[in-house]
């Protein structure tokens, strides 16, 4: 069943303070995402991948076109569409578990149940022993684990992840990638994952959508479920990797020369 649907979406931003020109960041984008998919958005930086995510999250509105979630037009952010931000987004004055319990408070979960749900979520991401630690003493990878636990506790239907592991070292990133796939399989959530790494996209996703930059358009799509029958496509992906890399537009600074 189609869960998220973008219909002929355009997004433009003014390029100067005189507002005499606008740059088209997304140019007539249409995407349908089904429940339980793991979709990666890839493309050169500045191609509008993050904009797509912000639109689905409801932080911004499309200049033109329509985005729906379960058939309803998205007009504002909501806990059913949780976001893991690229920057660390935990509140520094609350403990790890306090951060998650605040999210539950926003959802009006009864006070008695909050701690239990939060603990369960932390356990799922392997952070149970850091429940009372303050976020600024955690490493980058741990912070993102807690951010994921926050969405688990909120029971978001969709996880929107904006280059969540890009600030982490290679090893940590690999570990978090595989853990995330494991989580996706267990919890059957829809995940939309923005990344600039082709390898990461191949490793995690069930579908890859490639954007070109200025203006952002969809220039390629790969369905990885067929090739791997629902499993993580780790083996025999060298050809796929080459295919995707060949199609990846080069950075605009080079192209314009």
């Amino acid at each position: 069943m189609t869960q998220i649907s973008l219909r002929n979406v355009y997004k433009a931003y003014y390029t100067n303070r005189k507002m005499s020109e606008a740059r088209i960041v997304l140019n007539d984008i249409s995407i349908d995402i089904e429940e339980g998919e793991f979709v990666s958005l890839i493309g050169p930086s500045g191609c509008g991948k993050t904009t797509v995510l912000n639109l689905i999250a409801g932080f911004e509105k499309p200049t033109k076109g329509e985005i729906t979630f379960n058939g309803r037009v998205i007009d504002k952010p909501s806990p059913e569409r949780g976001v893991v931000f690229q920057e660390f987004s935990l509140f520094p004055w609350l403990s790890t578990i306090g951060n998650i319990m605040l999210a539950l408070e926003c959802k009006n979960v009864p006070e008695k149940e909050r701690r239990q749900i939060a603990e369960e979520a932390l356990r799922t991401v392997g952070m149970a022993e850091y429940a009372d630690t303050r976020p600024n003493t955690l490493s980058g990878g741990m912070k993102q684990r807690v951010a994921i636990a926050r969405l688990l506790a909120m029971d978001s239907e969709v996880f929107l992840m904006d280059e969540p592991f890009s600030a982490l070292d290679e090893q940590t990133r690999r570990k978090l990638d595989t853990d995330l796939v494991q989580l996706w399989k267990e919890k059957k959530k829809t995940i939309i994952f923005v990344t600039h790494s082709v390898d990461e996209a191949i490793l995690v996703s069930s579908r890859i959508i490639m954007f070109s930059d200025s203006p952002g358009e969809i220039i390629g799509e790969w369905d990885l479920r067929e090739k791997t029958s629902g499993d993580i496509p780790i083996l025999n992906n060298a050809n796929l990797r080459r295919e995707i890399l060949n199609k990846l537009p080069r950075c605009s600074c080079e192209r314009n020369r």
Binding site: P79, R81, P92, W93, L102, C106
Partner: protein
Amino acid sequence: MSIWNNDERIAKQIDTDGVTDGHVKLKSWVPMKILLTTLTFIAGVVIVLLMWQLMAWYVNEYMNLILKFPYPAESIQWAIDCLIDGEKIYGSTLLQHIEASLRRVLIAFSLAAVTGIVLGTFLGYFSKIYSIGIVPVTVFQTIPGLAWVPIALLLFGLGDDASVFIIYAVSSMVITINVSGGIRTVPEVVTRASKMMGAGGAVMFIKILLPYSAVSIINGLRLGLGSAWRVLIAAEMLIGTGIGLGSSMETLRDDLNFVGAFGCIVVIVIIGLLIDKVLFSAIEKTVRHKLGLEEGY
């Protein structure tokens, strides 16, 4: 000097004890830290007293004035005597004058703090309201403290209410501007994260925006209380309230008792310092630590 150098202190301990289990055990540094803070504070106060002493000495020695410029020792002695003996200055003891002034400041400041925090948060959060709302706030803020005197007298006549009104008018605007400025610097990722969590109005303000901008709110309150204290003294001098540090200073001056008038200034400064150093510094430090702005631990 080694007491200023943290590395040297740890290095010495490593030399004597060596490293065990990746840690070095040290003696508590808290008493030394308190001592150092106190010493630096006293050094600052001594500089002020020296400047005063020099000024008085120069004026009395070389400027042939009819009246003597009071020395710090005389004025401080005067204040201490007044406090201990309970001698009446124009009908009330010094303690009663202090009490009257403090009461006015506290009433006005509490009202101003509530107004400033509520108004400032709203203006800071809603950028469309801000561009309109900041205009009147700036207009009121531009009015000098003493220019409120005619307005206060017109509205409340002579007395307590008028001076409370002036203090309120001045400090509420200072607090509003600082609080709205603080809210406006809350990073977008924070507001987005809270919207994504579904944080409604009350939770958003109380649990997210206020803690995040706590440092600038405290600074706003600090500046607000500072200006409240300053404008109070001036207001008491102009509005015949009969009691309060400002009015006692005014009458002492009229009687050419400059030692006493300077003594009042000493009392005013001490109270201001106490409020700023003891109250606000402590709160600020805790908040900075909670927000992860202080180094380490």
